[in-house]
């Protein structure tokens, strides 16, 4: 153990504490009612304790350093250069916090909406938290891969057991799509291990892979991460999974799981494969621009609220991938901000859908109208998150999109122009959604007696509202975390490209 600020294996604790909570939940005995109630409370307390512990990261993280912090290492398969290594840098630290913060919110949000097999649901959710935190904290490729793939198991069950009518189709599609991408990454992992002799991520970042090899590695990674992001045209699993998943599943899917792909690009593709990144950036830009414009238009045509937000997620993630592959400080910084903002905002929007779904049991936009009249608090929250999703200045959504567009402008005027179409179209579909659901006259009888947010729901939304505004009004309290890391990453990238150019000059005089 070296350079561990906290003085104890904090990241391992954050990763595996949820499993302990899960074990406790599975050990509960008694009547079904009692088990359900105990499982809820145990899960909530476990996730709250994990969140409280993760705040140590927020306060003790040294923002002036670009290196990995809170590093812990233990021998695992030492002869093959594989070790259990955890640590966070400026890029991953806030995602750990995002995962630990969203989990209690999700558990709270599924307090009443999950009525069957509560114990198993809470267990699956805590396992999911383990996988998510572990994935963002892993500093060894094999450890990363295990968590990355491991996410599939609880998520498959959450969608399949507690989902909507077409849950089986959605769950299997989700599983196979993501698995197909990941196995190719496994081969890339093995090839990198063979070339570099270690799976330590820090070691791999320093290793220079041959340009020809980089191309193949990049494509293998791309297959995996593009599915996870998801990028057009492999995004089709997302609307299905979102629509069928229970509310909490959608929230965690949009909030954290979608970030795994983009995080993978930032952790592996960009720093380890600089030449291939430069080569393939135009392709990524093209796919991202298509995602931004096309899926925004598709979102406009949706009649299902969750589907609309799911498509908007694809569009927002398109902005993220544009930002990442500009590989300049503004672009990457913006992409990171957009990822965090999207995690909070789209999660919150799914919660908003969940609120009315719990009451009316329909997600059809047509089914609603005039809710603002009966649910003023709900209307306010929904309004704020819609505005944040559009990217209104002063909310979380603005900063990320703005920075990405600045970064994109440095690369190409057209890229910035086309990328900014997302904001315009986003305003169209979100306002359209808002008008149809919240405004107008109430025509249906059951809507007349609909109740506004309960105290529990207010407790769910309050932190999200605060964070959304905080991120919009004072973004530097977040960007400060990754400034040093991003600067180092961009500098390394440029240095690597220059080295290759020089080498090419030497070889071909």
């Amino acid at each position: 153990m070296n350079a561990n600020v906290a003085g104890f294996p904090l990241l391992s604790l954050l990763t595996f504490l949820p499993l302990v909570g899960g074990a406790v939940i599975m050990a509960i005995r008694g009547s079904e009612e009692a088990v359900a109630s105990n499982a809820r409370w145990t899960a909530l307390w476990t996730s709250l304790i994990v969140f409280a512990l993760s705040l140590v990261l927020w306060f003790r993280f040294d923002t002036s350093s670009a290196g990995f912090q809170f590093v812990e290492e233990a021998a695992w398969l030492p002869e093959w250069g594989i070790s259990y290594k955890m640590g966070v840098d400026g890029i991953s630290v806030l995602f750990v916090l995002l995962a630990t913060a969203l989990t209690p919110i999700c558990i709270l949000a599924s307090w009443e909406s999950i009525g069957t097999r509560v114990r198993e649901f809470m267990f699956a959710f805590l396992v999911l938290e383990t996988m998510m935190v572990g994935m963002f904290a892993a500093l060894d490729f094999v450890v990363f891969y295990m968590f990355f793939e491991g996410v599939l198991i609880p998520m498959y069950l959450i969608i399949g057991v507690w989902g909507g009518p077409r849950r089986v189709y959605a769950a299997i599609k989700f599983f196979l799509y993501t698995l197909a991408g990941s196995v190719l990454m496994l081969l890339a992992l093995l090839a990198m291990w063979y070339a570099a002799g270690s799976t330590d991520i820090e070691h791999l970042m320093r290793h220079q892979f041959a340009p020809a090899m980089q191309t193949w590695l990049f494509l293998a990674f791309f297959a995996s991460f593009a599915v996870k992001v998801p990028m057009w045209p492999v995004h089709t699993w997302l609307p299905d999974a979102h629509v069928e998943a229970p509310t909490a599943g959608s929230v965690i899917l949009a909030g954290v799981l979608l970030k795994m792909g983009a995080y993978g690009f930032l952790r592996f593709s960009v720093p380890m494969l600089p030449d291939a990144t430069a080569t393939f950036a135009p392709m990524v830009f093209a796919l991202s621009v298509v995602a931004v414009i096309y899926t925004s238009l598709v979102a406009l045509a949706q009649t299902d609220m969750k589907k609309l937000i799911a498509y908007s997620s694809v569009a927002h993630m398109g902005v993220v991938t544009i930002g990442i592959f500009t590989v300049n400080e503004q672009g990457i910084s913006g992409a990171l901000f957009q990822m965090l903002a999207h995690g909070v905002v789209s999660g919150a929007l799914f919660l908003c859908v969940g609120v009315v779904y719990d009451r009316i049991h329909s997600r059809e936009i047509e089914r609603y109208g005039g809710l603002a009249d009966r649910m003023p608090k709900y209307a306010l929250a929904f309004m704020l998150f819609s505005m944040a999703s559009i990217g209104l200045p002063g909310t979380a959504g603005f900063v990320g999109e703005f920075l990405v567009l600045v970064g994109a402008f440095k690369v190409s005027f057209w890229l910035a122009l086309l990328g900014s179409m997302g904001m315009i179209l986003g305003a169209v579909y979100m306002l359209f959604l808002y008008r149809r659901v919240l405004f107008g006259r109430i025509t249906r009888d059951d809507l007349k007696s609909i109740l506004d947010l309960s105290p529990r729901e207010i407790a769910v939304f309050a932190p999200l509202v605060v964070v959304t505004l905080w991120m919009g009004i004072y973004p530097s309290s977040f960007t400060v975390f990754w400034d040093a890391s991003v600067r180092a990453m961009v500098a390394n990238h440029l240095a690597a490209l220059e080295a290759t150019t020089k080498l090419a000059g030497v070889l071909a005089p």
Partner: protein, 476 residues
């Protein structure tokens, strides 16, 4: 002569005969259980003897003991012991309480141990036949049932054909090289021009004969029918230990004496491997009988294991051994659960019969889910590690086509594995199964624990497999 080399086999054989005698004279109603227990005891003793064995060759260089054979023997013994345990309860219910059952398994395991210790083509053949003859009888053990008799007969006829092929191959190799000893063969093969066409044809026939035993495509035809027809504990037994023995033998033969002819047999193994993976993953999709499904699944798994052999390196052999280890435990556990699928005293075998198991029997559903995720190769379960080491070997040798086909078929295979999980967790519950007997719970739990927690301590297992693989590649 160093006769002690074969001490585990000798002890096992004597114990087998003693148990047989006991079974003849004991009271019939008790003999099955007692003989089974004695068999497990004998296997345990043999295991201890294997562990304490010293390396060497003996019996006129016909027989070899080394780390490689030790690894395989322990695996075989564990698989057989679990197989006997699984039969305890099943045979009581299926009216197969006959003491010959465990003894046949025991003799079969002697055959397997001979196979993995074979140092000449003759030992290879004798061991293989001893193993196979016992299994032919076991497959037809439920003699009043048509399916079982059919399975036994089918396996016997096709097995005899495979034995013929194998024997023909052996005779060709002997004819063109003048020796049966692996060591002599190894010396001959390094000489230039060793790969005479006759010899290569002989190798092809031997590979065909052994491929039949591991049910690799295109010699897999018998597998689904025999798996389905044989009594389930026999299926569980056939699906694990003999596969290990035959695969280990194939690896020893090809990566040992025929190592210099890598170019000759590599394409063959690559083709068989790809065909097995494809058929195993595609044909299983349409199956509704879980035993048939497991048959196709095992065909696919053997295809994956063959990737390691195709690589033709120490890393590849290490991968094969680790893969077999994880495969054995996944399969034993799954079959323990399949045997436990019993309603009102009758065994059921449909995938649909598992509907809603997540609610009616959460523990069993959890175990099956673990095995299915593991077979699909999802980390952290052991199946992932098997695939990890196999693909490592392929990548090191630059066999990208094979590796890519391998991972993609594993995704197709994942479809039917997660479909079983879907049936258990997403579907409405069917009628609950009868209470599980303890013996099956023990096997399932032990296998489940191994499969789940393998990732915590992989180092010793990998080191053991590494040491075993080094035997075949003293220079590499």
């Amino acid at each position: 002569m160093n006769w002690q080399l074969a001490l585990p086999e000798i002890v096992l054989a004597c114990a087998g005969m003693a148990i047989l005698l006991y079974g003849v004279f004991a009271r019939p109603e008790r003999s099955f259980l007692t003989c089974s227990m004695l068999t497990i005891g004998a296997l345990l003793i043999a295991g201890v003897l294997v562990l304490s064995g010293v390396p060497g060759t003996g019996y006129h260089d016909q027989f070899v003991v080394d780390a490689y054979s030790g690894f395989a023997k322990l695996l075989v013994l564990v698989a057989v012991a679990f197989g006997v345990m699984m039969s305890l309860d099943y045979n009581e219910h299926a009216n197969m309480r006959r003491f010959e059952f465990p003894i046949l398994m025991l003799f079969s395991s002697i055959g397997m141990m001979l196979m993995v210790s074979a140092n000449s083509l003759m030992t290879l053949y004798v061991g293989l036949e001893l193993m196979s003859l016992s299994i032919y009888v076991l497959a037809a053990f439920a003699r009043d049932e048509r399916r079982s008799a059919e399975a036994g007969l089918k396996y016997f006829v096709l097995g005899a054909l495979a034995s013929g092929l194998l024997l023909y191959g052996i005779s060709l190799v002997y004819g063109f090289s003048g020796t049966m000893s692996f060591e002599q063969l190894a010396k001959l093969m390094v000489q230039p021009g060793a790969a005479s066409p006759g010899l290569v044809v002989g190798i092809v026939f031997i590979v065909a004969g052994l491929a039949f035993k591991i049910s690799a495509v295109p010699f897999h035809m018998w597998t689904p029918d025999v798996y389905e027809g044989a009594p389930t504990p026999v299926t569980a037994f056939m699906g694990t230990a003999p596969k290990v023995a035959a695969m280990v033998l194939l690896v020893r033969l090809l990566a040992g004496p025929f190592q210099p002819l890598l170019d000759q047999w590599q394409q063959l193994i690559v083709l068989v491997s790809i065909a097995s993976m494809l058929l195993g993953s595609l044909a299983a999709i349409g199956q509704s009988n879980i035993k048939r499904l497991m048959a196709y699944s095992s065909i696919g798994h053997m295809g994956f294991a063959l990737i390691g052999l195709a690589a033709g390196t120490a890393e590849g052999v290490r991968g094969v051994l680790i893969y077999l280890l994880t495969y054995v435990f996944m399969n034993l556990g799954t079959f323990a659960c399949i045997i436990a699928m019993r309603r009102r005293g009758r065994n059921v075998e449909g995938v649909g019969d598992l509907a809603g198991l997540g609610r009616t029997d959460p523990a069993m559903a959890l175990a099956i889910a673990v095995f299915m995720f593991s077979m699909a190769g999802i980390p952290p379960f052991s199946g992932f590690w098997g695939k990890y080491f196999i693909f490592t070997a392929a990548v090191q040798q630059g066999m990208w086509t094979l590796a890519v086909i391998g991972v993609l078929t594993s995704v197709i295979g994942a479809f039917y594995y997660i479909r079983i999980i879907k049936v258990m967790y997403f579907d409405e519950p069917a009628e609950a199964f009868d209470p599980r007997p303890v013996s099956l719970s023990v096997v399932a739990a032990a296998s489940g624990i191994f499969t789940t927690f393998f990732f915590l301590f992989p180092a010793p297992v990998v080191a053991a497999a590494q040491a075993a693989a080094r035997v075949l590649f003293p220079n590499g």
